[in-house]
């Protein structure tokens, strides 16, 4: 039986909270295991640094991902090189795996659109802020590739809150009808800002919503990176090369928790209990994988220390790089509205430039 045939009420699991094996471990090389672990450590450390940058006024509002590394890294690693991810705004971890430089992510949250200019060859869509609105893009892009005769798969991320939006419905329904190679990956972190999962929908699970679109939906322990990897691998395989009676799309509900605030502008103590947070922290995906890898003798103290050091260095370097990027020239915002600047826009720029020339930058920048 394919893992995708798991009843949505059940939950796919591989290692438990202590790293003990409770399911079939996916067939990964030692290197791959270590890479998975390192990505998770990197994402976590990046996240901690980003939150502190924001506190120090060196970055704008930032959405932390701590607690969600298992789902992000486990899923992104299941893709082949040509595949794509279509993120929301919280998938810095997945983006990392797909080759988005940390510097880009930092730049983006420092208010530079340039952070969203993915390098050529990096198959990642730009950050999408309006909830669920990226879902139809993932369907359409996958559909395009299928029409073009390619076999790329699109992995689309969104939250539990996103399942309530019309775009979730329309995007998944199109995927079912046009049988597009899309994996819909729901990061159910229990909260949409202050609104709990039960207030989002009366259905017992989110995974079961896939049934409304004619394809499979499964639940996976989103804090178990191996379970996530396994489920996503199966979904990606099916998307690329389905059996005759199968539709390509899958919806994966990865059950997890956001440890921190929704964004740095949010105070979660107003709406949720510390007890609940503690309960979920016990499921932290990182020590869990670490325990397993130590038991398997893939990791040891020395290796872990090495990884921690290299991760720190990498993040520090990226921060330096990002902070050394100067504020962009205002001309930039005019230049990317259209392929060719319309005359009126050129006039607007010139008028602006003249005032800036006369009054100086200080008249504009409050800092």
């Amino acid at each position: 039986m394919s893992v995708l045939e798991t009843d949505p009420e059940d939950m796919i699991r591989v290692i438990d909270e202590d790293g003990e094996v409770v399911g079939d471990v996916p067939d990964l090389s030692e290197e791959e295991f270590v890479a998975m672990y390192r990505y998770m450590k990197l994402a976590r450390h990046f996240d901690e640094r980003a939150v502190s940058l924001q506190r120090q006024g060196r970055m704008g509002t930032y959405p932390p991902l701590s607690g969600q590394e298992g789902a992000q890294i486990g899923s992104a690693l299941a893709l082949a090189e040509n595949d794509w991810i279509v993120p929301s705004y919280r998938e810095h971890g997945a983006a990392l795996v797909r080759g988005v430089p940390l510097k880009q992510t930092l730049l983006y949250w420092m208010g530079h659109e340039d952070g969203n200019r993915m390098p050529e060859g990096v198959n990642v869509f730009p950050v999408a802020v309006p909830i669920a609105s990226q879902i139809p893009h993932a369907t359409g892009a996958a559909w395009a590739r299928k029409l073009q005769g390619d076999d790329d798969v699109f992995l689309c991320y969104f939250g539990d809150g996103a399942t309530s939006e019309g775009d979730f419905h329309e995007g998944l329904n199109f995927a079912g009808v046009f049988d597009t190679p899309t994996v819909f990956f729901c990061n159910n972190n229990q909260w949409a800002i202050s609104v709990p999962r039960e207030r989002q929908t009366a259905s017992a699970t989110l995974a079961q919503k896939a049934d409304a679109y004619g394809f499979e939906g499964v639940r996976v322990d989103g804090m178990d990176p191996l379970a996530v990897y396994k489920a996503t691998t199966a979904a990606v395989e099916k998307a690329r090369d389905p059996d005759e009676d199968q539709l390509r799309p899958t919806m994966i509900e990865a059950v997890q928790y956001r440890f921190g605030a929704h964004t740095t502008a949010d105070d979660p103590t107003v709406y949720r209990d510390e007890d609940e947070v503690e309960k979920w922290k016990a499921k932290d995906p990182i020590p869990r994988l670490e325990n397993y890898l130590r038991a398997e003798e893939i990791l040891n103290d020395e290796r872990v220390a090495e990884i921690e050091a290299s991760v720190k260095e990498e993040v520090a370097g990226a921060i330096d790089e990002a902070e050394s990027v100067p504020r962009p020239e205002p001309r930039e915002m005019f230049e990317h509205a259209y392929a060719e600047l319309p005359p009126e826009l050129e006039r607007q720029y010139e008028e602006f430039a003249a005032v800036r020339e006369e009054y100086g930058d200080d008249a504009f920048l409050e800092d």
């Binding site: 775009d167 329309e170 319309p342 009126e344």
Partner: protein, 329 residues
């Protein structure tokens, strides 16, 4: 020698689609009833038979899905031409239009561009039910990153549609359905472009410049002919693209006459008549001899058809408005 056909506006739209689909495999059409049915106005007639169901795609009934999927397709380098069945049904997809279609280039600093053309029949006057008569081009013209094209002749319909499909940026293409079949015009069989952003003078005249577009060119021309009998000569300028506006053409025609009127179907308040007026007085105030007269729909929801003839600017209203401007003060 160029072969031409004598086509209606909607046939010219179809011909434009046919031409570009024949030339470029990346062009696909998607929407409700565009396939076997050939579109509720026959704008995609025969395309399904010619190009098959993978390029002329009947979708589920979901505008956000249609436009959003087209955004994804365009980001992958295709040139999708999504259709909304009426412009009044673009709103369920409005978020995809203003939050994504207009912004992918800016957001990604031009890594992703969206060569897509969103078509919709637009405007009133065909005795249709509620929501089938909207003309809210001002919404799209106010959203940077979009171009907004509205042809008024069969020749322009084909040429502007081809330009739109080839444009590297997203275009909202609004087709005045009141004149879908109102008259025919010569349309070259071959492909050709009518550039976006360029107005055209439909009639020369020294007394007043009248700016209009889409279906309103008809009552405007009619009024111009009848005014000519009274000795008032209108310069009638069809703007054709309402974003970007051809401000040079507006100013030039105005400076020639010192007086102007704008005719559009959309409600007056916040309509593009205001933008044209503001442009004129910004650039050519010293030439101005009379207020720019706005002859427009009213600030009420478009009525059901028993009253629509009163709502739409008629030749009589254009005549009266032009006279007011010409006789000022």
């Amino acid at each position: 020698m160029t072969e031409t056909q004598n086509l209606t506006l909607v046939q010219a739209v179809r011909d434009g689609l046919f031409t570009e689909m024949s030339a470029d495999e990346d062009v696909v059409v998607l929407g409700e009833d565009v396939g076997k049915n050939g579109g509720v106005f026959r704008a995609t007639e025969g395309l399904y038979d010619e190009f098959g169901g993978d390029r002329v795609i009947d979708t589920p009934l979901a505008e956000s899905g249609i436009i959003g999927a087209a955004v994804g397709m365009a980001a992958m380098g295709m040139r999708p031409v999504p259709e909304c069945q009426f412009s009044g049904f673009m709103y369920p997809g409005f978020d995809q239009i203003v939050s994504h279609m207009s912004r992918f280039r800016t957001r990604s600093r031009s890594r992703f561009t969206l060569p897509m053309t969103l078509r919709a029949p637009y405007g009133g006057g065909i005795r249709a039910p509620e929501h089938h008569s909207e003309s809210k081009e001002a919404f799209y013209a106010h959203e940077a990153g979009l171009k907004v094209a509205i042809p008024s002749t069969p020749y322009d319909a084909k040429g502007m549609l081809i330009s739109a499909i080839r444009d590297p940026d997203p275009v909202v293409f609004l087709e005045p359905k009141l004149i879908y079949r109102a008259f025919r015009g010569e349309v070259p069989e071959e492909d050709y472009e009518v550039p976006l952003g360029e107005a055209i003078t439909r009639r020369e005249g020294d007394d007043i410049a009248v700016f209009t577009w889409g279906a309103m060119t008809r009552p405007t021309m009619e009024a111009a002919e009848s005014l000519a009998e009274e000795g008032i000569e209108c310069e009638v300028v069809d703007l054709r693209t309402v974003s970007p506006l051809d401000r040079e053409a507006i100013v030039e025609a105005f400076e020639k006459t010192g007086r102007a009127a704008v005719v559009h179907e959309a409600p007056k308040s916040g309509g593009l008549g205001a933008e044209i007026t503001a442009t004129i007085q910004e650039e050519a105030l010293l030439y101005q001899e009379a207020p720019v007269k706005r002859i427009t729909g009213f600030d009420v929801p478009f009525p059901l058809y028993a009253l629509e003839d009163y709502y739409l600017p008629s030749a009589a209203r254009v005549e009266a408005g032009v006279k007011e401007a010409v006789n000022f003060p």
